[in-house]
Symmetry: C2
Subunit: 161 residues, 2 copies
């Protein structure tokens, strides 16, 4: 079994969606597909993340698309630099723009699979597309932009330091 990108590159991560060290977050795990193009993840929604009865909460889908797409951007950045996730210096990206199109209602109780890739160049701002399937059914599609940053500097700026 391969090791997830999150566990390789940020084992101390505390993000609610994808932090390996978050005590009770979603623990999204993303992996390179063997095709060398796509980054994939699977996730079975906890019943608490219901939206309408019997349907997955769109906000959960947004969280999955957000974190998984961001890890896709970071995976592409590592590869563009010819080095493995987990090598230093660490590569960090944040969400610049999150876009999720809800094509069909997503049923609760079915494992979801995510497949994402960078569309176009891998740059400071990279565009990531992400497909979400419930079983075989494409139910949502992400189209987002992730920005490579220095996160310590970002946090300092946000708190006026």
């Amino acid at each position: 079994m391969a090791t997830a990108l999150q566990d390789l590159a940020a084992p101390d991560g505390i993000c609610y969606g994808c932090g390996s060290a978050h005590p009770h977050g979603l623990h999204i795990k993303s992996y390179w597909h063997e095709d060398g193009v796509h980054v994939v993840a699977t996730h079975t929604p906890d019943p608490q993340f219901t939206g309408w009865p019997g349907l997955v909460y769109g906000g959960l889908i947004a969280m999955l698309v957000d974190c998984h797409s961001n890890w896709t951007a970071m995976a592409y950045h590592y590869r563009a630099e010819g080095r493995e996730p987990g090598s230093l210096p660490r590569i960090d990206c944040v969400t610049g723009r999150l876009g999720v199109e809800y094509l069909k209602p997503t049923p609760m109780g079915v494992p979801l699979s995510l497949k994402a890739w960078v569309e176009g160049p891998v740059e400071r701002k990279s565009r990531v597309l992400c497909e979400v399937r419930a079983g075989e059914v494409l139910t949502a599609r992400g189209d987002s932009v992730f920005v490579r940053v220095d996160t310590a500097r970002l946090a300092a700026a946000a708190h006026g330091r």
Copy 2:
């Protein structure tokens, strides 16, 4: 103190983001502003919803924008029909497209305020803009589409019934 739109129109709601009856969800509460244009909400993120250290998880902001914007769409629909939220038949909308632009990092530990409105006509598909502020600082902006639906029919279709 006014009653929130969620408690007026869907006191039995189980949505993780905005369901009044969810045992431990976000319990987002949305209110008409007295200006008759904006729908507003405030929310102080629980520390579990951290993204990067010291910063609010973008996925939480996406959930806030999603539910609050949807309630903005529903509030406008009730008003367009000249009746109060809570009157029957109930009006339900779902997210067609969620768009969130992250303008600045959002610091943890500051109450967030949301201000949303329908931009353009109130139709089966309505566009809702939503501003998110941490204190006085605009940190994120939503631009999304919400679709008026029969949610029981949607759930049946999602489960192949």
